[in-house]
Amino acid sequence: MSELTPLEHEVGQLIIDTLNLEDIAVADIEVEAPLFREGLGLDSIDALELALAISRQYGFQLRSDDENNTHIFSSLRALAAHIAAHRVK
């Protein structure tokens, strides 16, 4: 498994803190594995929570009709890349 970048680590921690995933540490998240369903087992309610946390921390809103929306949540790596490209703070 490849090393986490500092932003990937930060976003991983944000996911854990936002969703109270008490039994998971950032080191347990596979950076290329899906966040939803078979990966961390997150669901649509979690997606709303995460969207809020991301807007607060990084200053932009997630959208469903972003062309690559399914891609954004496809892994921690993809989410961190999306944040890096859109963050305004």
Binding site: E22, E38, L48, E49, A51, Q61
Partner: protein
């Protein structure tokens, strides 16, 4: 005696009934396309209406009514659940937006470009026609059917229209975050667009920014149909919202605090409806005004020995309610509900049913589900303890996914050697929590 027939829609032909991908659909076009679709449907008695886009759902819904077929509405979209619902009606098929490979059922794709077919206006549907069979998660592990007749749906919609004075919003738009397949979504985002003067926004916005854009595109007056989960996310999002005239929330209790914040954010009243799949909406309240629910006109509650039944002109028989209800002079207050039911993010299921679905996986010998953090905003999360010596966690999870709605997928899921069943075979919650604590601290994992 002639059979009573009621209009499919009260809109005039030139009225806009829905917005499809930014384009207004007028009632005449909608009816013509529904009639065209009706003519192409396979011969059958029933079809599962799986369309997510509200215009496509409306088309499928209307086409089935015009053709005399019944809309089957499953409790969720998990493939095995949809197949169970269809299996109960031999010969039935699914109406879909696009083919779904994971569904082992006959599928008919809803085509919005079929050449229009002339249809007599108003289109009339027999009041006694079975329009919908909607399913709930039953404690036995099989979805339970609830039939809805067109006349009852029309009368129930009229009661809601009067309660929320929807005539005042005629010419406006309903925008919704809920799917059309459950009772609240069906009543407020399918029946009201047909039977009140409002149009419905075709898309289903998900993130707060999606909803903001949808509201901005939708002609005013805007009525938002949503749930506490979405209201919370949108109220907290600190966006600039377009003027909204009314918000109606259901599927889970809304806190007075969130209701007050939402009223401030949107500058309009936030009202809740009370009901269940069996009854549809039967009461409402403005949440900030207090806990008292006001039954719709024509609805009576009869309570005795701790049980209440609802009687109304849109219900074929008295319906026993699952909630503990305290009647007061001007309405009623809810005091709790049947403990077998869980409500996560506004989706309800019987815990007994969910456990049955885990047990139906080959190789699972015993299983328990625990609702944790039940007081949280989302309504908790299920944790599973499973006895399955030959299976991995991943294999159990892979088998569960097509059987459960995603919000009920347990996380975490632990494999254990046995469950702490007591002498009567029951699983005391305290024992399960103690076992869970042990597992979390790393002891006793298989």
């Amino acid at each position: 005696m002639t059979e009573e027939r009621l209009p499919l829609t009260l809109h005039a032909p030139q009225d806009i009934i829905t917005w499809h991908q930014g384009r207004p659909i007028r009632c005449a076009e909608f009816l013509a396309r529904a009639a065209a679709l009706a003519a192409t449907l396979p011969p059958a008695g029933h079809a599962v209406n799986l369309c997510e886009d509200r215009y496509l759902f409306l088309l499928a819904f209307a086409a089935l009514l015009l053709r005399g077929q019944v809309n089957l509405l499953p409790p969720n979209r998990a493939p095995r659940v949809v197949e169970e619902v269809a299996a109960a009606f031999p010969g039935s098929y699914c109406l879909v937006e696009r083919p779904q490979a994971e569904l082992a059922l006959a599928q008919h794709v809803v085509d919005v470009h079929l050449p229009a077919v002339d249809v007599a206006v108003p289109a009339l549907i027999p009041a006694a026609q079975l329009a919908v069979i909607i399913f709930t998660s039953g404690s036995t592990g099989t979805p339970r059917p609830h039939g809805k007749y067109w006349g009852d749906l029309v009368r129930g919609a009229a009661r809601a229209r009067a309660r929320f004075a929807l005539a005042r919003h005629a010419g406006g738009t309903l925008v919704a975050t809920v799917p059309p397949q459950h009772m609240f979504g069906l009543e407020f985002t399918i029946l009201q667009p047909l039977l009140s003067g409002l149009a419905v926004y075709g898309g289903r916005p998900f993130f707060p920014e999606d909803l903001r854009q949808a509201l901005e595109e939708a002609p005013a007056p805007r009525v938002l149909i949503t749930t506490p989960v979405h209201l919370r996310a949108c109220t907290a999002a600190q966006l600039h919202w377009p003027a909204t005239s009314l918000i109606i929330s259901a599927t889970a209790p809304l806190s007075a605090e969130l209701a007050a914040a939402a009223e401030q954010t949107y500058g309009c009243e936030v009202r809740e409806v009370y009901g269940c799949t069996e009854t549809g909406a039967i009461a409402s309240r403005r949440t900030v005004a207090g806990p008292l629910w006001h039954p719709y006109d024509g609805v009576q509650l009869h309570c005795a020995d701790g049980h209440c039944t609802a009687v109304a002109d849109f219900l074929r028989e008295p319906i026993l309610l699952n909630d503990i209800i305290e009647q007061q002079a001007d309405g009623f207050v809810l005091r709790g509900r049947d403990s077998d039911m869980v409500n996560i993010g506004g989706k309800r299921a019987s815990l007994g049913d969910l456990v049955q679905r885990v047990l139906s996986i080959p190789g699972v010998h015993d299983a328990a589900l625990l609702l944790l953090d039940g007081d949280s905003q989302r309504g908790g999360r299920l944790c599973a303890l499973v006895v399955a010596p030959e299976l991995t966690e991943q294999a159990i999870f892979a088998a569960l996914r097509p059987r459960l709605d995603e919000v009920f997928l347990p996380r975490p899921l632990y494999r254990v050697t046995r469950l702490p069943r007591n002498d009567s075979g029951k699983l005391p919650r305290g024992e399960l929590l103690a076992l869970l604590e042990q597992l979390r601290s790393g002891d006793g994992v298989q």
